[in-house]
Symmetry: C2
Subunit: 144 residues, 2 copies
DNA sequence: CGTGAAAGTGAGAATCACTATCATCTGCCC
DNA sequence: GGGCAGATGATAGTGATTCTCACTTTCACG
């Protein structure tokens, strides 16, 4: 009986962040989403928690994790490799990859890719590719 | 490039694993290195610890972490993204990427790449690329 | 061969990131 | 408004990793 009451809350987007169906927009969630939407570069869950706490002292850590994980499921955010601390980056919808500055931590997106095609992987390895992740590390414009 | 003389600890390679300068080859370290050298696919530090313990019951967990981290610094091993548990894969020297099977966890290497060239990244973004990481996720030959 | 300094070790405590639990609260569709 | 599915916060718990430190071992050099 989830059907009758479940009208499609057409709130699948908040400031460019994709949200799952039936997501309630609570003030807590909005606080975390705002921080992410305004964010340049990478961030950790703890970063968000500490910043959000300055405005909402009672905000729980679990709420931050729940919110980040929600965005991870919709693809609006994804974990970053190669960093010492577990960090995330915002992802615009669509296919793209990240240029991660090792000096200042800035993250830029690029649509340049050229990863091997699923067809070729299939042919050479019998491997059915479903997705891939590419992070390019180096020094950004400002730092070099 | 050729090593002309015996330098202090002429031991920068053990079974294909690159070691830092001045690395002492202790039995504990050798036990962990052997496990990694023989390894197919990905592994976690805990995996190594449990296996190594069967032969050396007094081996400490910290030693496993120290050894894995040592290899990570030399590039002989690298952490894998996208997995629930923190896992590593062996890296052969040279350029290559990983095909990670989401079903059985097997990891295959491929030299197929096509990542954007440093020159193009420099031109378009002013970004000086130093390296990149590409993991392709999907289903391997055996599992599909 | 010794030997000493530096490097490595094990055990356990500490830390860190994250998850589970649960009583309570609240946004949202009717 | 009313009601309830979904959200929240506090806290305890978990699992991975790092730290600490007294002790041991390796190995270049004499």
């Amino acid at each position: 009986m989830a059907r009758s009451r479940r009208a499609p809350a057409d709130r699948d987007d908040y400031r460019g962040l994709r949200l799952p169906q039936r997501t309630r927009l609570t003030p807590q969630r909005r606080a975390v989403l705002d921080l992410i939407a305004d964010r340049e570069g990478s961030f950790t869950a703890i970063d968000l928690f500490q910043e959000a706490r300055r405005r909402r002292p009672k905000l729980g850590l679990a709420t931050v994790y729940r919110t980040v994980d929600m965005l991870r499921r919709t693809g609006s955010v994804r974990p970053l490799v190669g960093d010492a601390r577990p960090a995330y980056v915002r992802c615009e919808p669509g296919h793209h990859h990240h240029l991660v500055c090792l000096s200042c931590g800035a993250v830029e997106e690029t649509d340049l890719c050229g990863a091997p095609s699923p067809a070729e992987l299939r042919r050479r390895y019998g491997f059915r590719a479903e997705g891939h992740e590419l992070d390019i590390y180096g020094t950004c414009n400002r730092c070099s």
